[in-house]
């Protein structure tokens, strides 16, 4: 086994070092010590449509106002890059597709169809694969839903954000609450049980009371999946500037903490199970695609600024890489045309780097990280070995924020809300344990 892995290795030194230094025990069926989980021939696919008609006041994403109608060339390039990355990753099955942006609902349904066809041609796209499209709930958007359905979309994620028209204006949205409700209704008609609604709290001028009322209203019209996001002020956005100048104010930290907490309770009462920090589902309608992020599965990112995590086996590498596509659409288009993909950065993930991602993403799930899941990535170091002897972790367990038991590692209800306060500690422990060497099993690391 060592022989085959030696000939296959052509990657960066980090990965090669791993390969040579680790013991290869005959009993392991997975290639021991590699910085990728068992070779996966599956991945999910994220496609980025970068254009919007206007920019919302809080948005700092990679989005652009289109200057000319370049639907055709975009289509061509999305297909091209999809094909290239599929071949590069050598996946034989795409488990889910997500069209995000920008405003993907501005794209032509035929574009969506074409991309999906490319996927089918070069890999497998099963009938049950979840194909989600983000929708901006304007009249234009809702009129296209049926066509999108025919193009192959089987799930809609609608950016409702708020039912208060005044707030929608402040947020710079180009729809009102009526439009939103209509869009949700139409989507539910076309894909019952497969519609997700995005809601935003912590908006300027919002109070806990008004939020609770609004949420109640929303939940009466929502489908089986709700994503709850707290508004964050990002530098360089219009909203940030307005708040800085004192023209607007957002609720304080303490208030948004209460809003989050009370939203969780309300959703729970209404039958939605919280399965992730920001995501709630009833009737089991969780988002398959996003799950692949939290479970640290492979994903391909296509389109300007898209992110990916996969092993470029087609080039003989064995390490999972963190990849980003060129941000600017015009530049991306040129690059795809010239060399069939617009990958701007690719950084191999070390064994530790990958584990860090597994930890950070996995703990966002209410179920956390099971021991089995962790073992896929870290066959030699289990969670007990890494964490249980730390006094700080013991403290977190005692104060009821973190749970480490025979199921695995997860946050409690309160712990989930404070996850980012706990992660640095956990990351330090992980780093200390792993860099110390997998052979050293002293397990007596004190922080």
């Amino acid at each position: 086994m060592l022989r085959t892995c030696l000939t296959a290795v052509r990657g960066p030194a980090v990965c090669v070092g791993r390969c040579f230094s680790s013991e290869v025990s005959g009993a392991d069926s997975t290639l021991a010590g590699f910085s990728s989980p068992p070779f996966s021939t599956e991945a999910s696919l994220y496609v980025h449509w970068p254009y919007c008609l206007k920019r919302c006041s809080y948005c700092n994403f990679n989005k652009y106002i289109p200057r000319s109608d370049n639907q055709d060339v975009m289509l061509e390039c999305l297909q091209r890059e999809t094909e290239t990355l599929l071949k590069l990753s050598q996946v034989s099955r795409i488990t889910s597709v997500f069209f995000g942006g920008g405003t993907p609902s501005l794209a032509r349904p035929s574009t969506i169809a074409a991309v999906l066809q490319t996927v089918t041609r070069h890999a497998g796209l099963s009938e049950e694969a979840e194909v989600t499209l983000e929708v901006n709930p304007t009249p234009v958007g809702s009129s296209k839903l049926e066509d999108f359905l025919h193009a192959g979309v089987n799930r809609f994620s609608i950016g409702v954000q708020s039912l208060r028209d005044d707030d929608l204006k402040v947020l710079g949205r180009d729809h009102n609450s009526q439009h939103a409700l209509q869009t949700v209704a139409e989507a539910r008609r076309l894909c019952p049980g497969r519609v997700s609604v995005d809601v935003m709290f912590g908006r300027p001028g919002q109070s806990v009371a008004s939020w609770e009322l609004e949420l109640d209203e929303l939940l009466s019209v929502c489908d089986d999946h709700v994503s709850l996001y707290q508004l964050t002020l990002e530098r360089g956005t219009q909203l940030f500037r307005q708040v800085q100048k004192g023209q607007l104010s957002v609720p304080s930290d303490d208030i948004t903490a209460v809003m989050y907490d009370s939203a969780r309770r309300i959703l729970q009462k209404r039958g939605y199970l919280q399965y992730e920090v920001s995501n709630f589902a009833r009737n089991g309608a969780i988002s398959q695609h996003n799950m692949s992020y939290w479970k640290a599965s492979q994903y391909l990112g296509v389109g300007p600024g898209a992110h990916g995590r996969f092993v470029p086996r087609g080039e003989g590498y064995v390490c999972r890489e963190a990849r980003t596509q060129t941000l600017e659409p015009d530049v991306w288009l040129r690059e795809v045309q010239q060399r069939s993909h617009g990958t701007r950065r690719r950084i191999p993930l070390t064994h530790l780097g990958l584990l860090e991602e597994v930890l950070v993403m996995g703990l966002r799930l209410t179920d956390g990280i099971t021991h089995q899941h962790w073992q896929l990535f870290s066959p030699r170091a289990d969670l007990y070995q890494i964490l249980s002897s730390s006094s700080e972790v013991q403290d977190l367990q005692q104060t009821g924020l973190l749970i480490l038991d025979d199921r695995g590692l997860r946050c409690s209800w309160q712990g989930l809300a404070l996850l980012d306060s706990m992660l640095p500690t956990l990351l330090l422990l992980l780093e200390a344990y792993i860099t110390q060497g997998l052979d050293n099993n002293s397990g007596s690391l004190q922080l």
Partner: protein, 561 residues
């Protein structure tokens, strides 16, 4: 060198207040006498340390022997560049004792300042010839006439004796050299007397050991001679000796009246203390008076950022103190900061320069706790001064524009930032000098700072009873700002014994989790988390409370509003 008759030797120093232009004048003198080539790069050639160049100050005294031709004769002029700061007045006084005269530089605009006065008295008491030099006459605001009158009034030196120059442009600098030759007496030492030399500086060279700068007051010294240092009584053999021009020029002999360097197998600078006397093994002489081992006035605790850096910091401190015998070092340890040292300095500037050198030359990062002053147990402005428990002693009008005031201050009140505040309140014009006035009884008490009930040792202070509440409250507020929120509430308290006199609270986080990772873009979040994890490594724990190292520093610096 023996062809230099003592009558044609002149030993002089340049003394002045900070920034009045000593080092620039020294540059010009070196250029004029050909010791260095005339180029732009000669800005302050004698300031060798990086920190000196950056801050525009001289820390270590440097020396150069210059040859100057005047009226057909060649003269040997020994120039000793001196530090211009109050902290180093002892070094200045030793340098001066090796001279027969000084150039007293006064800025043509600023006029007489605190150090001008202090240094004048040093030279005057040593009965040296004083040549007043008015510098920076090229600047717009220069008023040499006013300054000359000032000098006459305060120092009783006739205005005709002043030389007006611009060291920067070189104006009249040649005249300075001439006056040195004309007005300064030659040294009165005799070659026939037994060898006797004053050590006025020393530094440590890794390859050759201690290099001592000496001024010969009698006899001569040859390579291979055996000499003894009066302070420690140890004997050494002279390996190398020579002139400083300003670079080392080895010779076989140095004669009375000359100034130069000697390398004699000393291993530590402590063996060549400033002010010490050297003499031949066979000829015991009387030691020079006025020698004192350096006395520390200001103390600071120094701790490594992280205990794993302890030995690196220890070696950096050792190396630096090799070259600075006036720093006192004592091991110390703290609950909050781990193992470290208590270092003693001649003054605040001395301490700051030391720290800067630690960081720049040795890449050491240190936590520095507040300077404290020695208290003897029993333990017991107009707005600026009033707030600092000062007692006015006298007041003298120097001229129409300025007044000199003497106050008696508890040292504690001026030791941290008095000087900075004085400068900013007076737009730089006020200057300040201090000397030890002995101990006085005062009602002081010990104040603790607690975080969630646990005392933070490093923040324990001794305060005057009248100041306890305001100091305690200020510290609590400062800590409240400096410590980041955590998952539990933090009570910050100031206490005297068991009585809490001030309190602030740091609220707990109720929510701290990123809302959404868009489209699988987790790189930014990972970077941020990893940065926070790194930051954690540098935090100190007081009980379960994480305290960044900056918090201590921010708190301990005093700011009056």
């Amino acid at each position: 060198m023996s062809k230099f008759p003592v009558e044609r030797i002149r030993n002089f120093s340049i003394i002045a207040h900070i920034d009045h232009g000593k080092s620039t004048l020294a540059d010009r003198l070196l250029e004029l006498t050909g010791a260095i080539a005339t180029t732009d790069k000669n800005k302050q050639v004698l300031d060798k340390l990086q920190v000196e160049r950056e801050r525009g100050i001289t820390v270590k005294a440097q020396t150069a022997s210059l040859f100057y031709k005047y009226q057909g004769q060649t003269y040997l002029l020994n120039l000793i560049d001196t530090p211009g700061h109050v902290d180093f007045s002892y070094e200045v006084s030793r340098s001066i004792s090796a001279c027969q005269g000084v150039l007293l530089i006064v800025d043509a605009n600023q006029g007489i300042q605190a150090q001008t006065v202090a240094n004048f008295y040093l030279a005057f008491e040593a009965q040296l010839t004083i040549i007043p030099v008015i510098n920076k006459i090229d600047l717009k605001n220069a008023d040499p006439e006013r300054v000359e009158k000032q000098i006459e009034k305060v120092f009783d030196i006739p205005t005709e004796e002043c030389i007006r120059i611009s060291a920067k442009l070189g104006t009249n600098v040649e005249q300075v050299l001439q006056e040195v030759v004309k007005r300064l007496p030659p040294p009165t030492f005799k070659k026939e007397d037994p060898f006797k030399a004053l050590v006025f500086d020393s530094n440590f060279d890794h390859y050759r050991g201690v290099v001592a700068n000496i001024a010969l007051f009698g006899g001569y010294l040859s390579k291979g001679d055996r000499i003894i240092s009066a302070y420690l009584g140890k004997s050494y053999e002279v390996n190398e000796l020579g002139l400083l021009r300003p670079d080392e020029h080895p010779t076989d002999r140095l004669y009375a009246g000359q100034v130069g360097y000697v390398i004699a197998g000393m291993k530590e600078v402590k063996e060549a203390q400033i002010g010490d006397t050297l003499y031949h093994q066979k000829h015991l002489v009387e030691a020079f008076p006025g020698f004192k081992p350096a006395k520390a006035m200001v103390f600071a605790g120094m701790y490594p950022m992280d205990q794993s850096d302890y030995s690196a910091l220890r070696s950096a401190v050792e190396k630096l103190t090799l070259n600075d015998s006036s720093v006192t070092v004592q091991r110390d340890s703290s609950l909050a900061l781990g193992a470290g040292w208590r270092l003693g300095f001649l003054g605040l500037l001395h301490m700051e320069v030391f720290n800067q050198r630690l960081e720049q030359e040795y890449n050491a990062s240190v936590i520095v706790t507040a300077p404290t002053v020695p208290y003897k147990a029993i333990l017991s402005s107009a707005k600026l001064i009033k707030n600092r428990r000062a007692v006015q002693k006298n007041m003298v009008y120097i001229d129409d524009h300025r007044v000199m005031m003497k106050y008696l201050f508890p040292l504690n009140e001026i030791v941290v930032d008095f000087y900075d505040l004085l400068k900013s309140m007076s737009s730089g014009y006020a200057s300040f000098d201090y000397e030890d006035a002995g101990y006085q009884a005062a009602h002081v008490i010990k104040m603790d700072i607690l975080l969630n009930g646990k005392p933070v040792e490093e923040l324990t202070t001794i305060v005057h009873k009248d100041r306890a509440y305001s100091a305690g409250k200020a510290m609590c507020e400062r800590l409240q700002d400096a410590i980041p929120r955590q998952m539990f509430e933090i009570a910050v308290q100031a206490a005297i014994g068991s009585k809490v006199i001030a309190r602030e609270t740091i609220k707990a986080y109720k929510k701290n989790v990123l809302a959404k990772c868009y489209g699988g873009d987790i790189t930014r979040k990972m970077k941020l988390l990893k940065k926070q994890a790194e930051g954690k490594k540098k935090m100190r724990y007081v009980g379960t409370v994480q305290v960044p190292k900056d918090a201590f520093i921010n708190v301990l610096k005093r700011k009056d509003k």
